[in-house]
Each structure stands twice: as C-alpha cells, then as structure tokens.
C-alpha cells in the first residue's frame, strides 16, 4: 500500500559527525507496516559511536522500539559505543525493559540433562504409579459395589436408567448399521473363498459362528468405547473441572458411588443386549449376501446356521459383552476422574478413555479366547 502524501512512512537517515553517527528517525512507525532493518541503514559504516534521534517521528509504537533494540544490539555486537541520550526518558525505560533479565527463567538454566537410565527409571516409576491408580480404582469400585448392595436405596437408580437409555437405546441406529455391514463384509469374503470348493452353504456357518462368538460383542464394544466411554470421561472430567466432584466430596458423597457405579451398571446391563442385537443384524447381513450373491434362500441359511451355532456360543458371546461393557465403563470413568482441571484435560481424558477402552477390550478378548479354548466352550 503506497503511503499517502500527508503521512510520511517510517524513515531512518544517517547523519555522520566524524566518527559518530546519528540516525535520524522520521515519519510514522507502525508495527503492522514495513520498517527498515538497522543493518541495512548502517551498511558498511564503522563508527565509534551511534545514537538515535526521534524528534521527527510523527507517530510510533513497538515498531520503533524493535528498531532501537536492534540498533542497541548491533552496537553491542560490533563494539560500538551506544548513546541513547537523545531519546526521551520514557522511551529509554521501555528499551531497558526489552533487555533479557540476568539469570531469568527464559535463558541460562535449562532442565538437567537426562540420560537413558534416568529416563527409563522415571518412565518405570510413572508406569507403576499409573497402574497403582488403576488397581486402586478397581478396588474402590468393588468396595462400592458391596456397599451399595447392602444399601440399595443409596444407588442412583434414576441416573442409571438415564445412562442406560443413553448408551443402550440411543446407540441402536449406529450399532444396527455397523453390525449389518460387518455381517455383509464377512459373508462376501467367505463367499469368494468357499465358492471355489462349491461349499457356498457354509457361508452361513462361518458368518453365524464368527458373528455370535466374536464380531457381535466386539463391534458393539468398539462402538460403545467410542460413543459412551468417551462421553463418560468427558462428563466426569468436566464435572471435575467445574469443582462439582469437590462439592460431592465436601458433602461426604463418594464420586465412585454417585457417578461411577450407575454408569458401570448401565453399561454392564446394556452391553449384552446390544451384543445380542448386533448378532441378529450380523446374521441378517450374511443372509442378504447369501440371497443376492450365492442365491441361497434365507430359510436354508437359517437351518444351516443352526447346525453349528448353539446356545453355548451365544452365551460365551454375551458373557464377553458384559465384561467388555464393564471395562469400557471402567476406563471412561477412570480417565474422567483423572482428568486435569482444564478444557484440554477433558479432551485428553476423552481420547484416552477411548484408547484405554478399546485396548482393554481386545486384551480381554484374547484372554477369553484362551480360557474358552481350555474349557472347551
């Protein structure tokens, strides 16, 4: 933007007096406008003394301060005497404040260097602390469960019911869609392989068993971890940030009894129901593919599936679902209670709840696979 004629832009002109230089500043100095670099002004000049004069300046702000500071630094760096007597005293005060304070926090001492051993030690210590907080939380939940089973009137039934609605009924659409699609995908994959052997009908067995034993509970759990686990962490974390947890504690009400148990129970009850529903949708997905791609009628599909899937398969799936539900509720509430008292802390808690939830679900699933194998279920 060209400067309008009446307001002159920032200028710095050099006037030499023998060995010393006075830089005459004129015009309007604005931080948002372009200014000359001090080095450019000086070019190759090698004076013994440098001074600034700002009588011709019409208007100035931090821009001029930066320029003067550069000049001062340049003078210091080139061993030139710095003379600021021509500057007004309040300007000099401000300039002095730009000087880094000796021994200030920003410069000098940094954190002590950490070697590998220290780092590993600290990380192990941190891990131990974290796992301890997890065990403590499990213990507190168990104690709370005993306490509430002796005094059921203290249990927040209403909160539990509203959470059940939130994490159960409200999650039906997304669970429907994902389970149906997972059933479809599995049936497609199975169809491609089994067709080569003319074993089309066994798609029903494969999809049926996989959905009922594994994919139904697992997909429901992953959806719950993302949907409900994160919501638990965010809600509880937010309550912590807003001193609401403190308010509970100052009344002698344990947050575990008041906030965690209703949510854990709600998820523990809703998860098997959702898993059952997911099983159904998964099987329907398989049926759709069988009908459209393999031309197997649904009735044949159903009969074939019943030859392999029995009640014990369904029960193993449902047992898993209950455990997954508790694990997800557990990680959501734990991360919420551990959250920092800030908006960013709440966000981190929600993310961490999802990650922890899914991780625990997968690990538990692996444990179940081994245990069921040993038990021959």
């Amino acid at each position: 933007m060209p400067a309008s004629p009446e307001v002159r832009s920032a200028r710095a002109d050099v006037r030499e007096h023998g060995d010393s230089i006075v830089v005459e500043l004129t015009g309007r100095w604005r931080i948002a406008e372009k200014r000359q670099e001090f080095e450019e002004v000086m070019r190759d000049r090698k004076p013994t003394r440098v001074a600034l004069q700002m009588e011709g300046v019409e208007e100035w702000d931090s821009s001029l301060l930066l320029f003067a500071n550069d000049a001062k630094r340049w003078a210091g760096g080139h061993g030139v005497q710095w003379d600021e007597t021509l500057l007004p005293s309040d300007f000099r005060d401000m300039l002095a404040k730009m000087e880094p304070a000796a021994g200030s926090a920003s410069g000098g001492e940094s954190a002590p260097g950490r070697d590998l051993l220290t780092w590993v030690g600290l990380a192990t210590h941190d891990l131990a602390l974290r796992s301890r907080s997890m065990y403590t939380f499990v213990g507190e939940c168990v104690l709370s469960a005993f306490r509430l089973s002796r005094q059921p009137h203290r249990f927040r039934w209403r909160d539990c019911l509203s959470e059940m609605q939130q994490c159960g009924a409200m999650a039906l659409p997304i669970v429907s869609l994902i389970s149906l699609l997972v059933g479809l995908i599995m049936a497609y994959q199975a169809a491609v392989q089994l067709r080569q052997f003319g074993a089309d009908i066994y798609v029903a067995d494969l999809v049926g068993l996989a959905v009922v034993r594994e994919m139904g509970p697992m997909m429901a759990a992953v959806i719950m971890a993302g949907r409900t686990g994160a919501a638990f962490a965010a809600t509880i974390g937010n309550m912590k940030a807003g001193e609401e947890i403190d308010a509970l504690e100052s009344l002698g009400i344990l947050p575990i009894d008041f906030l965690v148990m209703p949510r854990l129970i709600a998820l523990g009850i809703m998860m098997p129901l959702l898993a059952m529903y997911a099983n159904m949708l998964g099987v329907i997905g398989g049926m759709l593919v069988a009908k459209t791609v393999l031309e197997i009628p649904p009735s044949a599909y159903w009969v074939e599936m019943q030859t392999i899937v029995d009640l014990s398969d369904i029960f193993t799936g449902l047992i898993k679902a209950v455990v997954f539900g508790l694990l997800i509720g557990f990680s959501g509430c734990l991360r919420g209670l551990q959250a920092d008292r800030s908006a960013a802390g709440v966000g981190r808690a929600a993310t961490s709840a999802v990650v922890t939830g899914i991780l625990m679900v997968i690990v538990a699933d692996a444990v179940f696979a081994v245990v069921f194998n040993i038990l021959g279920l």
Partner: protein, 264 residues
C-alpha cells in the same frame, strides 16, 4: 462438645502440593459466630488452606478440629459426621449441572436425612427462598446467571443447616451490587443461626463491610503475617505489606511510581 471450644481450631498445619510446601506451621482458631476472612495475594495458598480445612486434601502435617473434635486425622466415620456440620460455597458455585436447582439442594438432604420427599421439597423451597431464588426450582444451572448460581450454591451449602459455612471467593466475577447481596446473605446466615462463616477473599469492600477478624497469608513467609480486625490492621499494623494490602485510596498511585506504573 463444650461451648467453650472454638468452632475451628487449626494447629501446626502444613499444606502444599506435590511435596512443595505452600504454608508452614499455620495456627489459628475461629470463634463461634464469627465472620472470619482468609486474605492474601494471589498464589499465597488461601484456597489450598481452605481445601485442607474442608477435607478435600489431607494436610501434610498438623490437625484441624471442629468444636474440639479432630477432623484431618479423625477416622472415616468421625470425618463423615463432621462433614455434615459444614457447608461449602465453591468459587464456581459447583452446582451439579445435570440436576435442577431443586435436586441440587435436595441431594444433601436425601443423603443425610430420612425425611420424606414432601418434607425435602418444602425445605428446598425454603432454602431457595432464603437466597431469593423462589420460582427457579426447576431451572438447570446452565440457564441461570453467575450471581444466581452463587446464591443457589449457597442454598445448597445451607441445606443441612451447617454450623460453619466456607466461602471460596464468593464475590469473584460478580458485579458490585450482586457481591454486596452475597455479603448481606452472609450476615443474615450468621444472625439467624449463629453460623460461623469462613470466607476466602481479597475483596476489600467485603472484608471491611462484614469481616470480624482476618488472617493474612503471605507467599514468601509461607504463613500468617497478620491476625485481627481488618480496620485495626489497616490503621495500626506494623507490617507494611498488611497496610499496603488493606489500603483503600480512591486515587490511583501512578504519580508516585512514575510512568512505569502504566506499563506493568
């Protein structure tokens, strides 16, 4: 419990965070029915002291007793008994956002009493009326203003007719009129039931208007640097820091400190 015991007795209290001691060897007591202020500059540990006194943190050392009964080192049942005797108004009011005002005030009653739902409802109406919130029973905290939240938080703190009420910066973020209303409520609570009020604040107006006694904490000293009536401290304190804190001039002091005052 004898009547001669002070309402609150703090003995040799150390408190801080993560091994860092903020306050050392704090000793003071609060008489019954006093309006007692804890004052001091930012970061001197006022709120930490309060959190230690109400049991949200375990003190690093020392004891807090209420009416002669130990709290900080007391066993779980004794602590729970004592928790009933005090109410807390948090800085952000800390109303439970998922509950209406009615449910907020009712919760302590449901937790600690065996009153019927109707009795609780009547009491809730009374408590909300005491703080001037009649008609707002079914509002959620998100739907009311900051001053109303504070008053609702006070109604909740008063639900169990506590003998002591703690206020954490009751007028923070409120306009002068509303904060004066809160001051009046504090006086009213004291006069109706002889309730002891402990207020953490640095609102000079409130301190002089309603404070019977103050203690002033200091960051560098890690302790109490003054105890007494605020007006007397203002006039007679030998400590310049105390006089400076309690000074009330209408004129800003730019002249004496030179131009730098504007920039700091």
């Amino acid at each position: 419990m004898t009547d001669s015991q002070p309402a609150i007795d703090v003995k040799d209290l150390d408190c801080g965070y993560d091994g860092r001691v903020l306050l050392q060897r704090i000793n003071f007591s609060v008489g019954r029915g006093e309006v007692f202020f804890i004052i001091g500059g930012s970061g001197c540990g006022k709120s930490t002291l309060l959190r230690n006194m109400i049991g949200l943190r375990r003190p690093m050392h020392g004891e807090v007793s209420y009416f002669g009964r130990p709290f900080a080192e007391g066993d779980a049942t004794a602590r729970r008994e004592l928790l009933k005797t005090f109410g807390v108004l948090f800085q952000s009011a800390a109303l439970w956002t998922s509950l209406t005002l009615r449910e907020n005030v009712a919760l302590p009653l449901q937790e600690y009493t065996r009153l019927t739902a109707r009795e609780i409802d009547d009491l809730v109406r009374l408590k909300l009326a005491q703080v001037g919130l009649t008609g707002y029973e079914d509002f959620f905290p998100a739907a009311i203003s900051g001053g109303m939240k504070k008053r609702a938080g006070l109604a909740r703190a008063l639900a169990l007719d506590p003998a002591i009420v703690f206020f954490d910066e009751p007028s923070a973020g409120l306009d002068p009129v509303t904060s004066r209303e809160i001051d009046d409520l504090i006086l009213q609570i004291r006069s109706t039931r002889g309730t002891t009020c402990v207020v953490v604040s640095h609102e000079l107006d409130s301190i002089f208007r309603i404070g019977d006694r103050v203690i002033m904490l200091d960051k560098a000293e890690k302790g109490i640097i003054a105890t007494g009536n605020p007006r007397e401290l203002q006039r007679n304190s030998s400590d310049a820091r105390v006089r400076e804190f309690l000074r009330r001039d209408d004129e800003p002091c730019i002249g004496s400190a030179g131009g730098t005052a504007l920039l700091d």
